[in-house]
Amino acid sequence: MSEEKPRTTKKALTLLLIGVAVGIIFWGGFNTAMEATNTETFCISCHEMEANVYKELQDTVHYQNRTGVRATCPDCHVPKDWVHKIVRKVQATNELYHHFMGTIDTRQKFEATRMELAQNVWTAMKNTDSRECRNCHNFDSMDYDKQDARSSTRHEDAAEAGFTCIDCHKGIAHKLPKEYDPEKDIPGQSIFYRN
């Protein structure tokens, strides 16, 4: 009896150690894999992204600018915090499905679907108060004195009215859909969000 007790403890300890090791490998592997899918290289490994949205991004301030700060795909399109990131990653399986189905594998098909795709993103950003924009941009961090008079007035008004970045800043990193009508997109009265 007295001989068996240390053996049980030993067994339990070994089991625990194996558990910890396996846990580290699996959890680490999972996170590494998730990080690997969270890079621009991964995003543009799909022709749909590389030939359309990535090409368009290259002409914008989010790709090249005075100070050399660049935003890559996941910076704007994948949430930073873990819970929302997982939710987004699960949603992305739908994108994989359509990639293999070839839903938007030509420029024509992409253009025909662009309004729907854009509205998905606009609506998501509207619902999260442009969370991904706010990883870098924030009303509270803006020095209104350093902005153009026009920008500072509009930003102050927008902050007061409770508008969010995407209400005014649509089509800043990619081309706007041909169905988009700027006259129907007054902040607060836009018809381009889904409910």
Binding site: A149, K175, D181, P182, E183
Partner: protein, 150 residues
């Protein structure tokens, strides 16, 4: 007969070519300045664009004469005027100008060429920058006391 006419035509063409080529050959010694590329070689990269600030004027830039299309008192490089859309209309159209606190398009912009009023911006007026332009901040080369009209 045919050959004779052909030869005559040929010599006439030759003579005409020679006479018209004369002045061009003489002009070869003068330096031709290409107003757009200046002295940049055609097969090389163009010269870097001079960075200048667009003038931002609260309340707009004064007009110089009565029917002058107003100048644009802000930067417009982020607004697109294309087949897809006209970015200026985001603020300046009849539907949006109040919410955006921006000046509205002139009424004339809704008339077609027969003077008939349209519901939407007339396509003759679609390309705003054909008449309206932003201004770069520059120092006047000479003193000027001219005052435009408001």
């Amino acid at each position: 007969m045919n050959t004779m006419i052909k030869t005559a035509t040929r010599s006439l063409v030759l003579a005409l070519t020679l006479t018209s080529a004369g002045p061009a050959l003489a002009a070869d010694t003068t330096v031709i300045v290409d107003p757009q590329r200046r002295d940049q070689p055609l097969d090389g990269a163009s010269a870097p664009v001079e960075r200048r600030q667009v003038e931002v004027v609260q309340g707009g830039i004064a007009r110089s004469y009565k029917e002058q299309p107003p100048m644009i008192p802000h930067a417009i490089d982020k607004y697109e005027i294309s087949l897809r859309l006209n970015g200026c209309l985001k603020c300046h159209s009849e539907e949006t100008y109040q919410a955006e606190k921006a000046p509205k398009l002139g009424d004339s912009h809704y008339l077609d060429r027969d003077g008939k009023r349209l519901d939407r911006l007339s396509m003759r007026r679609y390309f705003c920058t054909q008449c309206h332009a932003p201004q770069f901040e520059g120092t006047p080369l000479v003193d000027n006391a001219f005052e435009g009209r408001r």
